[in-house]
Symmetry: C2
Subunit: 220 residues, 2 copies
DNA sequence: CGGTAATTTGAAGAGCCTCAACTAGGGTGG
DNA sequence: CCACCCTAGTTGAGGCTCTTCAAATTACCG
């Protein structure tokens, strides 16, 4: 059995702070979380919004120093993975090791997409891209969600994710709503026109199907 | 023998275009290269500047679709790695697999840093952070380089890397020079005050020493 | 040496931020 | 049960950063 303890965590819990020593990693079983980097001036950059099923804290597991702050946006359940377990995976399960490798590559590519979004598109497009990304990933877990995306993030959180202020996030979401692209509800958003949202944001889904053809056979 | 052909490539060569089918990966033996994503409007975001010794094209090797465009900034030498070779590494070399994993984590973290730089700092700080990053990495290969960083990038390239226009890159580099933080030469930059460059950019080096304590023993 | 790419500089405007005030909800304690 | 507070969202005004457009200058390469 690879996973160990399950643990209930409440909203706002920090699973790891930036300077904490490296330990294991987590799998988010339910709820939402974020990984973030703090800046010297006190602001922060959210590097990833975690949905149920996501593996969190891999950089901290693989590298020496603490790296990102991982904190809960909602209450939820996490299960922990120790470093020793990671070691044994690489020693004993070649195919699983390669799958880990693929998984990190997907994350890496997703980061590149967000880099391009923040570096090369305007505020409206960045928010559209974030919403589409969250919607596509939510849909993997819940294909029946339709166009309604549960969104337990404040506008400040959204701003920290896409490099904007909360004030400007507010204005741009109003614009998207006025254009009929989204509809806003309490703690949720309806994506009324995903095709146009994708067009204005340049969003492409990377979550289709990773290529497993090159992995070692599941021999043993 | 894991590496295969070495190949000389000239400046401007595109090793892979964004939509190309997935193949292997490369190790850059000499010269500089960049990985980039193209945007619908024709602009591009450079996701990584590659220095000699870097592994390039890992996402394309691990995932199905083509992903990033990899192109040479200067002439140089690359050696290629096929997907089949990657498969055999994961099957037969647990420790090497884990090292690959660590390597990708370092890259991932480095991307997070740049995300924070672009999302949360101004133009001057972004350029300072890029210069420091390149200097630290160059220094790993050539500890004797002193404060002189060879920089075979146009200002347009720099802008594409940090999310700015070439015009504004030009102005900000002039500001850095006027402040006495850098000194500009043809195809190179002197970093006159790395401490202050780090202070204004919030740069922290991630290239110190990855933690290898958890890796499987180099048994066989 | 001619031609093209890269850098430099100026001026004007757009986009986003800052500051500030106000509104709405949700929880808490009296 | 209501008063209060604290968080989150909303809206306006003004200013600064960065972009855009344009032109001139310099460096590079055949």
């Amino acid at each position: 059995m690879l996973e160990s303890q399950r643990r209930a965590v409440s909203r706002g819990t920090m699973l790891r702070r930036e300077r904490d020593p490296a330990d294991g990693l987590w799998v988010l079983q339910s709820g939402w979380a974020v990984s973030a980097l703090g800046m010297p001036d006190g602001s922060r950059q959210i590097t990833k919004v975690h949905l149920p099923g996501d593996v969190m804290g891999t950089p901290g597991a693989a590298l020496s120093g603490g790296t990102e702050t991982v904190s809960m946006l909602t209450g939820g359940m996490v299960s922990t993975f120790s470093r020793a377990q990671l070691t044994s995976v690489f020693r004993d399960h070649p195919r699983l090791s390669a799958l880990f490798f693929v998984l990190v590559q997907v994350e890496r590519l997703s980061l590149c997409d967000r880099l391009a979004s923040i570096g090369r598109t305007d505020a409206r497009a960045r928010i559209a891209a974030l919403l589409l990304d969250l919607a596509h990933r939510s849909r993997l877990a819940d294909p029946a969600m339709g166009d309604r995306l549960a969104l337990p993030m404040t506008q400040e959180d959204i701003g920290d994710a896409v490099g904007l202020t909360a004030v400007h996030v507010n204005r741009m979401m109003r614009v998207l709503a006025d254009e009929g692209l989204i509809e806003r509800e309490a703690g949720a958003v309806r994506l009324l026109d995903e095709a146009n949202l994708a067009r204005i944001s340049g969003y492409v889904s990377r979550w289709s199907e990773p290529d497993t053809s090159w992995l070692p056979k599941p021999a043993e």
